[in-house]
Subunit: 414 residues, 2 copies
DNA sequence: ACTCTTTATTTCGAGCGCCGAAAAAAATAG
DNA sequence: CTATTTTTTTCGGCGCTCGAAATAAAGAGT
């Protein structure tokens, strides 16, 4: 059942609209805001004055940008950098990264730590995260973060509280969000790394990826983030969207996840390496593969039609079959392939396209457009930061806790 | 960008909440409505009195249901049957059906017509629909329908305007909605039949299917309707969710859709029949198969481990592989298997479960609960009717076109 | 230097929809 | 016939948006 509405909802919504407009476009005058939000000047005036009082917005009188026209000059308004600080945490293979940004989204500080994630228990993970975040905050001279988003390779619960399973760490059912939340006293969300890539792409290229965005991570494992009709696709009880674990072949090759026949068991780096070296498809996959190993494999695959080429072909057909199946469900969607695996994409592409165009994806236009991004980390960080900022925006929009704006100005005077 | 809000939105929303409450529970008093909507008594009073004036609601003083307690008796309020009439149209294999219901959802009239759909051009379809709807409306003594929903086997565009492709009719890109809309002067939506099954199940069993609902139609072809996190899953540019056309085997058996390796090319009735009779997997599938044919096949499959059993096993593994892949994306969801194919579900079930539990679906709880429904038509009709009614509700909630409630009462007096 | 024009922003009063409290309505209990 | 109980309506107030008018702050013209 839908929820009832009241004037409170209207206020929140319109404040949110104003904040959203400013989050996109650096600074705007009140007049610009009227145009962007289609709110009346009076309303924009009221809302901005409230938000200015609350410290969420700041006027920028300094930069009068020349354009000297007649009439009263516009006053540029922007988000107030100091209103909040957000933290993004990225847990990837053998690396933990932390980024601190101000409320405008400007990166203030970034910090990495490399260690063997495979040996990491849940407990270890909590401690390492806490420590690294603390250092980063202190380096950035931030007392109190307002929101933390942690992007992990692996499956989280649907509410973004727990890390259920990760291919890169031993811990299971790690209550990351609750722990960090009590450590840092601010809302924490745990998200899938590929979802964050999709968020970033949507944010960076709304024209192309605004409505629909499929991010496929090709690396040691295979991950996916999907926006469909403008909303993040997630499972019923977990972050799901586990493209890499769609079933490619019943009783097929052994996957890192323990199941058999997953796409990843053919298309992950370890699977390609395994197949290229003629190892049995239930061999325990090598834990560590250098970028050099894979580049060598790719070079051989390009040179001659040997076992390497066949391994890449099988990988491509696993991916192509998965995409074809996915597109039977969603219709073709613009794709961003991300990660080190994109370096061998030239080998895979024709096979992938053959799978998709031979299938019924979309029924009529069985083609897809794609882009390649070699490095996933910047995208993940961008996505996590944006997600954290939007969470703060929501809180700011709902106003200073249950005090009317009038009360606030009274408090400020006192 | 989100849209701005105003008092108009609040009014619409709260009227919608009231209407939604009444659509569920036959009749309620104003006090009940307060509890159900969490609106204040004053607001409920105002809204119901407006809706009564507009003829959307009706008081039912007749049935004072005994429960003689002290105090002023409650006045039962319900949707006014005469406020609107909706039409549901179902196009299935060799049959066109029309149902007419009043605003409370009560079926007033139903009408079927059987003919060879395969021979049907787009033009034919438009004419037949129009004629059958006209007859049904006149039989039901309904002057003007308020909403028509047509459920078709096949793929529609994302907006529910056109029938893009259907396995049961020759026409392509048939502008069903626009045509019927101009014929009957009311909003028309074209929807996928399996989506309507999912709508119906959600409506009938909200406890089980309210949030997530997977309807799988097993019959000549394979269809699917999916609700995920309370919203209908649909493709980017079409109704999509074409479970039957997920890719099971690259370059595999020939499917009705023209592609190769679709799940349907193994699990549709025609595919099972083809395999059981040892025909090549690119044989043109028989167009007509009687229920008797399939029952015979199933009986033989149960009796001995011959070609029939193998055909059902292959079918089940195609479905199981598809479900495993789907559940990698969505986590396991309660399933309703619908249609004549459910008669052989006892043969398939173990193989389907083997596929799913061998895979990584959901990561941790690789099981699913399911229900069987032999007859799809009643569910499709129910879903289409509900969809049509909800469309009317939305219009009713937004109020008499741009007149305030005061204006309306003035008009009524005049 | 002063006034006029232009453009941006704020202020003011009205309207709409919700809510709480009080009043009114309509029954039963005594 | 009055008191009690429960439902429903009425009334006044509040919060939010909006349109119109007022104010603010510039450049342009004389």
């Amino acid at each position: 059942m839908q929820l009832k509405a009241g004037s409170d909802l209207v206020r929140r919504q319109n404040r949110a609209v104003v904040i959203a407009a400013l989050r996109r476009g650096a600074t705007m005058s009140r007049t610009d805001l009227c145009a962007a939000t289609s709110l009346s000047p009076s309303t924009v005036s009221a809302i901005t004055s409230d938000l200015l009082n609350e410290g969420a917005l700041a006027e920028q009188r300094e930069f009068e940008p020349a354009g000297s026209r007649r009439g009263r000059p516009q006053i540029a308004i922007g988000l107030a950098p100091a209103r909040a600080h957000v933290v993004s945490v990225e847990l990837t293979h053998n690396q933990l990264s932390v980024g601190v940004s101000d409320y405008t989204g400007k990166a203030i500080h970034e910090l990495d730590q490399r260690f063997s994630t495979a040996a990491c228990s849940g407990e270890d993970l909590l401690v390492r995260c806490t420590q690294l975040i603390r250092v980063a905050l202190s380096n950035a001279r931030v007392e109190q973060p307002s929101s933390i988003v942690m992007a992990v390779q692996g499956r989280t619960d649907a509410e973004g509280r727990d890390l259920l399973w990760s291919p890169i760490a031993a811990g299971r059912n790690v209550h990351l969000a609750d722990y960090l939340q009590s450590e840092f006293g601010c809302p924490v969300t745990v998200a899938n790394d590929c979802s964050m890539i999709a968020v970033a792409l949507r944010w960076l290229e709304p024209e192309r990826y605004g409505r629909d965005c499929l991010a496929v991570l090709l690396s040691h494992g295979i991950g996916m983030g999907l926006y469909l009709n403008g909303r993040l696709f997630a499972g019923r009880s977990s972050s799901a969207a586990e493209f890499g674990h769609m079933l490619y072949k019943h009783n097929g090759a052994l996957c890192r996840c323990g199941a058999r026949g997953c796409i990843e068991a053919y298309a992950g780096d370890y699977a390609i390496w395994r197949a290229a070296h003629g190892l049995p498809d239930d061999a325990l996959p090598p834990v560590e593969l250098s970028g050099l190993d894979m580049r060598t494999l790719a070079r051989r695959a390009r040179l001659s039609d040997g076992p390497e080429r066949r391994a890449y072909k099988e990988a491509a057909e696993a991916i192509g079959t998965g995409l074809a199946s996915l597109f039977a469900l969603t219709d073709p969607v613009p794709i961003a392939f991300v990660g080190s695996g994109t370096a061998a994409f030239d080998i895979c592409e024709p096979y992938i396209r053959a799978c998709i165009s031979g299938s019924n994806s979309g029924g009529f236009d069985a083609h897809f457009e794609h882009q390649l991004f070699e490095f996933e980390l910047p995208l993940i960080r961008q996505g996590a930061t944006v997600t954290a900022l939007l969470a703060v925006d929501e809180k700011v929009a709902s106003g200073p806790d249950h005090l009317s704006s009038r009360d606030v100005s009274i408090l400020e005077v006192a």
